[in-house]
């Protein structure tokens, strides 16, 4: 398994689990959960600095961007303009080029607006960004994103934060089979087994936030996700047996007493 690296935009990573840093009770809880997850990449949001409360802790004080890859996202953006502005600012903070684009279209279900997403992917790619794109589980849209330069396809499992698990495994499998880009299931996972299923479908990675941060025991769930992603990947590489409708005895028939 040592050769089985996770490659995004020509960069190699050891862990196939990407974790979000939102919804934790505290920065220290977030930092510990991330450490336990073994993730090499974490997603972060871009927001206004609190001018009035200078003592408020900063994420960078808890999680060193030199030791882990920060993946700035555009969470909360509903138009291409907002998303572009956010990621240009993110790049300015410290030279980040690897970014996660997410342009939402509906406040209730948080599904992505794929027209705005497609437009933004094209612009950002031309500006030199490596764009990992959150998208719906539509193989045609995934293909279009690839055509305009996305560096990774990130189809949703289910609505963000819903915990419903992978609603359309067939589409995820089709998306995986049609592209050479890494496919990372993003959003909607509820428990570790959902991550294992994503990996068994052949996905290259998994992104989880709420499922870990809001679990009753976030540290334990973080470990569970780490193990599930490893187990799912190993299972995929090992190759599952064919399904049959009849039984097949595991013990030899010869020599029965």
């Amino acid at each position: 398994m040592t050769q089985d690296k996770f490659i995004v935009a020509k960069k190699k990573f050891n862990s196939r689990l990407i974790v979000g840093t939102g919804k934790y009770k505290s920065m220290s809880e977030c930092a510990k959960a991330i450490k336990l997850s073994g993730a090499d990449i974490i997603t972060v949001a871009v927001r206004r600095v609190n001018i009035s409360d200078k003592k408020k802790p900063l994420l960078m004080d808890y999680i060193d961007p030199k030791k882990i890859t920060y993946l700035p996202n555009t969470a909360g953006c509903f138009t291409s303009e907002e998303a572009l502005r956010t990621l240009r600012l993110a790049r300015e903070i410290g030279g980040w080029k690897l970014v996660k684009l997410e342009v939402l279209g509906d406040k209730k279900n948080l599904f992505p607006d794929m027209i705005e997403t497609l437009k933004s992917t094209e612009v950002l790619t031309k500006e030199g960004f490596n764009v990992m794109v959150y998208c719906n589980d539509d193989p045609l849209m995934a293909q279009r994103l690839e055509n305009v330069g996305a560096c990774a396809i990130m189809p949703l499992a289910a609505p963000i934060g819903s915990g419903l698990g992978i609603l359309n495994p067939t589409n995820i499998k089709i998306i995986r089979s049609q592209t050479k880009l890494p496919v990372i299931v993003d959003a909607g996972l509820g428990q570790a087994s959902d991550a294992a299923i994503a990996m068994e479908l052949g996905c290259d990675g998994v992104l989880a936030n709420t499922a870990i941060a809001k679990a009753k025991k976030p540290f334990l769930m973080s470990l569970a996700f780490k193990n599930a992603v490893i187990a799912g990947r190993q299972s995929y590489l090992a190759g599952r047996i064919e399904k049959t409708i009849y039984g097949s005895a595991s013990s030899p028939k010869s020599g029965i007493i």
Binding site: T43, V44, A45, V49, L58, N73, L89, I93
Partner: protein, 72 residues
């Protein structure tokens, strides 16, 4: 003695009154902004952090300072 003129600007959505011609660098230092950990926009244009001292603030300038926070 010439009286220093005060101007009104906006920073992260809130109005602030400052001395006219104050440089953006000095203003941000007064606010104790950790410059290495933020990005700065002036009137919707991203500012190169190396050039902060060359920019003098004017009436109605709109500054946005952002950083990374936890997010999914």
């Amino acid at each position: 003695m010439k009286k220093i003129k005060k101007i009104k600007i906006k920073i992260n959505g809130k109005f602030s009154t400052i001395n006219e011609n104050l440089s953006l660098l000095i203003f941000l230092k007064q606010l104790e902004i950790p410059l290495k950990k933020v990005a700065i926009e002036l009137n919707q244009e991203i500012i190169d952090k190396k050039k902060l001292n060359n920019i003098n603030l004017k009436k109605n300038d709109n500054i946005e300072i952002v950083h990374f926070i936890g997010g999914g």
